[in-house]
Symmetry: C2
């Protein structure tokens, strides 16, 4: 279950942000899509129903949503700034289709042992990790079996 629009709106309010139609539109665009979207993608989607919106506003809204942890960034595929809705609370990772960009989530990742070993070997205090798998999704495999 994703953050509901309601939940996001109340979070924005709680943090002192105003709820403008533009922000709602950006929110909807991201929530409606299961893929990761670049700022430009989001701008294009939003403009269909909200022609006057500025790209700046999209950027500003994305910054806020990212800062509040309501959306998260995806890094794979050369593209360095795409966003997805974030599932509530839980730490998770992405599986990204290298052909169509479809994204699947998973939560499993137990690095405790590896982190302990790395910490011992390198002297690093490990704070976080970035894990993404890439591959071909079900649909793309059916479309062109390799």
């Amino acid at each position: 279950m994703q953050f509901t629009e309601k939940k996001i709106e109340s979070t924005l309010r709680r943090e002192g942000y105003k709820l403008t139609p533009q922000r709602r539109a950006v929110l909807n665009a991201i929530a409606d899509s299961h893929d990761h979207l670049t700022p430009a993608d989001i701008y294009d989607k939003v403009r269909q129903e909200h022609p006057g919106i500025g790209l700046v506003t999209v950027y500003r809204t994305l910054d806020i949503l990212d800062k509040l942890g309501l959306i998260c960034e995806v890094h794979s595929g050369g593209n360095c700034r795409s966003y997805l809705m974030r599932r509530p609370q839980e730490h998770h990772h992405h599986l990204i289709c290298s052909e169509c960009g479809a994204v699947a989530d998973f939560t499993e990742c137990d690095f405790s042992e590896l982190e302990h070993r790395l910490s011992r070997d390198t002297g690093f205090e490990i704070e976080g990790h970035l894990l993404e798998f890439s591959g071909r999704c079900h649909n793309c495999r059916k479309a062109t079996p390799s």
Copy 2:
């Protein structure tokens, strides 16, 4: 052990690339540094000994080295295009200090079980993964213990 300059030069030749002084300079700049460098960082370093070089050439050389797999990209820390020398042959990952940018390598990563499970659950055919840890390196921890 990193790729030696000799090894890299022969690889370039084998692939039909010419060995220009500019390419050597870029190569040296990356090889001399243990950190990850952005194209601009590399440009700055190279210009000290090779003032006439153009930023374009740095970019072009990085593209080639990346395509040949002689250097690799680092993603963490918001910065989306930094390069490191690549260790020969082996698959490896990075541990990146969030304070000073120091990089440590490690090779361990056994995702066979997780990949199998993900494949079964999502229908993805998994081709690769991106794994990076972030944390505070030995030096930074000593400098300002938290």
